[in-house]
């Protein structure tokens, strides 16, 4: 957006005062339109897109000095840490958080100390793939992202990117820039209100209404240039820590996988598009071909990574099912079973298929178009998960899917029971499946087996009540 300074406004009014009222309005209108269209012109936008980015900036922004506004942001970040912890959103698994810390710490240049930064790395209980950094040095990676990525190098890529945001003080810089933008919008609104019934007022009011939206779009991430800097600096950090740098590109490709059909492109977004990021990172990596890692090595790394985060993956599958993201749950559980087909992993795949119900396992090409995704998003806002299922079950395709997935779930539950060291929770899953299929006595029997094998289960009360209700029905 264009920056308007107060002296510029004073000058504008002095100029306007020299002309009659009607002419004044026209001049103000013309000047405001110039402001708007200069910043939105293709040349301005093209210049913004191709702004030169220093390939290897120093790891730390040494010129940065803390101001009052920055300290306020820092305070908010500390409070956010407390809130996330208090609200049960941080995964309370010491092994996982230590693992994240080990990988993250290995990326930070040796001996580096930053003013008002205390590095912490935590897993956040959220099935949406995402990661973010707070300016106080708290780095969060969601279980959804940890479960999606393939190996430790990809995890290092995510952390290196976030670490750069902290080291280069991107949050503070972005906040300062946003504050200037907001001031501009308020000033423009004031100019508009001087002639509310003229063209000037209408145009500026329209921009003021749209502009916060544009700004919210930038809040979803840092500016294009800052993101680019974090991508490229992240690659450098990965090379220094001896991680496979090309995995930065592969993790972007993974993020582009839209299993749930929710990545809707907005008409304006300051974030570089994923394909654009893949392009410039690949070209940056081109000059470092000697660093490319052998596939065999990556496969070994993948197995080690899965062993490290297997419990996080299972936890995330449960979260995905709770959030109605059954397609993601099936995708992630299948990866787990491919890695190790033990009783617990088979149980989670069965649970995912049971949750999938009448839905298709994959979205069609038509369903992945932007307009179809927008329609689906509107429907999601309106309907509950149960209503969506009822609607789908009213169609022949939905009934067919439901039958197929219920059969798959039953087979998988049975395989889980026949595997070595079967987990008791499989009986609960079978009970729920049979209850849905109307097999009341089978369901009650499975629930009873579950409670017999897990007398201290946290959901004992809930299952007990289901048994009572089923027995009541049978009378």
């Amino acid at each position: 957006m264009t920056k308007v300074t107060i002296p510029a406004l004073t000058w504008l009014y002095k100029l306007a005062a020299m002309f009659p009222r009607k002419l004044t309005t026209s001049i103000v209108a013309a000047l405001c339109l110039c402001f708007i269209f200069t910043s939105l012109s293709p040349i301005a936008l093209a210049q913004k897109k191709t702004a030169p980015v220093e390939a290897t900036p120093p790891p730390v922004n040494e010129q940065f000095k803390f101001g009052e506004v920055d300290l306020e942001i820092l305070n908010q970040a500390d409070l956010l840490d407390v809130r996330l912890q208090r609200d049960g959103l941080v995964l309370a698994d010491e092994a996982t958080n230590s693992y994240l810390y080990r990988v993250g710490k290995s990326l930070i240049p040796k001996g580096l100390t930053l003013e008002r930064v205390n590095w912490t790395f935590r897993a956040l209980r959220d099935p949406q793939p995402n990661a973010f950094a707070l300016p106080n040095g708290s780095i969060y990676v969601t279980t959804g992202l940890m479960a999606l990525i393939d190996n430790e190098s990809q995890l290092a890529a995510v952390l290196a990117h976030e670490l750069t945001h902290v080291m280069r003080r991107h949050t503070y810089l972005q906040n300062r820039s946003l504050r200037k933008k907001f001031l501009t919008i308020n000033v423009m609104a004031a100019v508009g209100s001087m002639a509310p019934l003229s063209v000037v007022g209408a145009v500026i009011m329209a921009v003021t209404t749209v502009a916060p939206f544009i700004m919210i779009a930038t809040i979803y991430g840092y500016s294009r240039d800052l993101e680019r800097e974090a991508d490229l600096k992240g690659i450098d950090m990965m090379i220094s820590a001896e991680y496979a740098p090309e995995e930065m590109v592969n993790v972007m490709k993974l993020l582009d996988k839209d299993i749930e059909g929710e990545n809707i492109r907005l008409f304006y977004n300051d974030h570089p598009a994923l394909d654009e990021r893949i392009k410039y990172m690949s070209s940056y990596l081109g000059g470092r071909a000697d660093k490319v890692t052998h596939q065999m090595e990556l496969n070994r790394e993948r197995a080690a990574y899965f062993r490290n985060i297997e419990s996080v993956m299972r936890h995330d599958i449960q979260l995905a099912i709770n959030a109605g993201r059954a397609r993601s749950a099936v995708y992630l559980a299948q990866r787990l079973v491919d890695f190790q087909a033990d009783s617990e992993n088979l149980f989670w795949l069965a649970e995912s298929y049971r949750a999938l119900g009448p839905r298709t396992q994959q979205l069609t090409e038509k369903e992945l178009t932007n307009s179809a995704k927008k329609d689906a998003s509107k429907k999601r806002e309106r309907r509950t998960i149960e209503e969506e299922e009822r609607e789908l079950l009213a169609t022949p395709a939905g009934q067919e899917n439901s039958q197929k997935h219920q059969q798959m779930a039953e087979d998988l539950y049975k395989r889980a029971l026949n595997a070595e060291n079967p987990v008791p929770v499989v009986h609960r899953g079978l009970g729920m499946l049979y209850e849905k299929l109307g097999r009341g006595s089978d369901a009650a029997a499975e629930y009873e087996k579950y409670l017999e094998l897990s007398p201290a289960a946290i959901d004992r009360g809930r299952i007990q009540r289901r048994i009572e209700a089923l027995k009541e029905k049978q009378k």
Binding site: E72, D87, M205, T384
Partner: protein
């Protein structure tokens, strides 16, 4: 212009009604027919967020939001007891260093309400048809057997800086406000029994009497528990 006229109308309405109003109260048919009576409730930790809107954009108020959340929780408990004789039983929600599984259960149930809330807001009157439920996962909270319902409180508010207040008076815009969204859910089967969304005008961080009055109005339709 229509947006500004709407805000003006809202300010006038709020002023006329003593700076607080209730946009609607919706009761499940089971409550209306007295098939279900709410005698005791567990109030889940409130999530009320306020921002300070200045000329340089909105700024977070995390500490003030936490204070306000606690105040709304306490006040709601008092209003329910005093006005409706509904007792609030202490939650079995775990402390920060408690059992993580129990803590996750509470967090996941709160998340489930957050996911359901936009659908309720979209068609609040459907609460009267008994359309919304959170399922029997509510039993995983392992609440006291005498608990009839669980109360969820959400809210958002805006405090204006002095510059922004002057600016709003001159140019127009949204004044300072607090809007609460309160849902009461059956502790045995997860059905949404009541939804109300009181709103009050003015600085939300300092509102005490206005908040109490808004809450009292918000539960006007909830049947009173007769003393035994």
């Amino acid at each position: 212009m229509s947006g500004r006229a709407f805000m003006l109308a809202l300010v006038v309405l709020l002023t006329a009604s003593g700076s607080h109003s209730v946009r609607g109260q919706f009761l499940h048919p089971k409550i209306k027919s007295k098939e279900t009576t709410i005698r005791s409730v567990v109030v889940m930790p409130a999530k009320v967020n306020v921002v300070r809107d200045s000329m340089k954009g909105p700024e977070g108020m995390a500490a003030e939001s936490d204070d306000l959340s606690a105040r709304v929780e306490t006040m709601l408990t008092e209003v329910l007891l005093k006005q409706k004789h509904v007792k609030a039983v202490p939650t079995t929600a775990p402390s920060a260093d408690g059992d993580p599984q129990q803590k996750y259960n509470v967090a996941d149930f709160q998340t489930k309400f957050d996911a359901l809330l936009p659908k309720i807001i979209k068609k609040r009157s459907d609460v009267k048809k008994g359309r919304f439920t959170m399922g029997d996962e509510v039993l995983n909270l392992n609440l006291d057997k005498d608990t009839d319902a669980v109360v969820f409180i959400r809210g958002e508010g805006k405090k204006l800086s002095s510059g922004k207040t002057a600016f709003t008076l001159l140019v127009g815009g949204v004044p300072a406000y607090l809007r609460l969204q309160i849902g009461i859910v059956d502790a045995r089967n997860g059905e949404v029994l009541l939804y109300t969304d009181p709103i009050l005008a003015g600085d939300p961080t300092t509102a005490v009497d206005r908040l109490r009055k808004a809450l009292e109005k918000g539960f006007k339709k909830l049947p009173e528990v007769k003393a035994q």
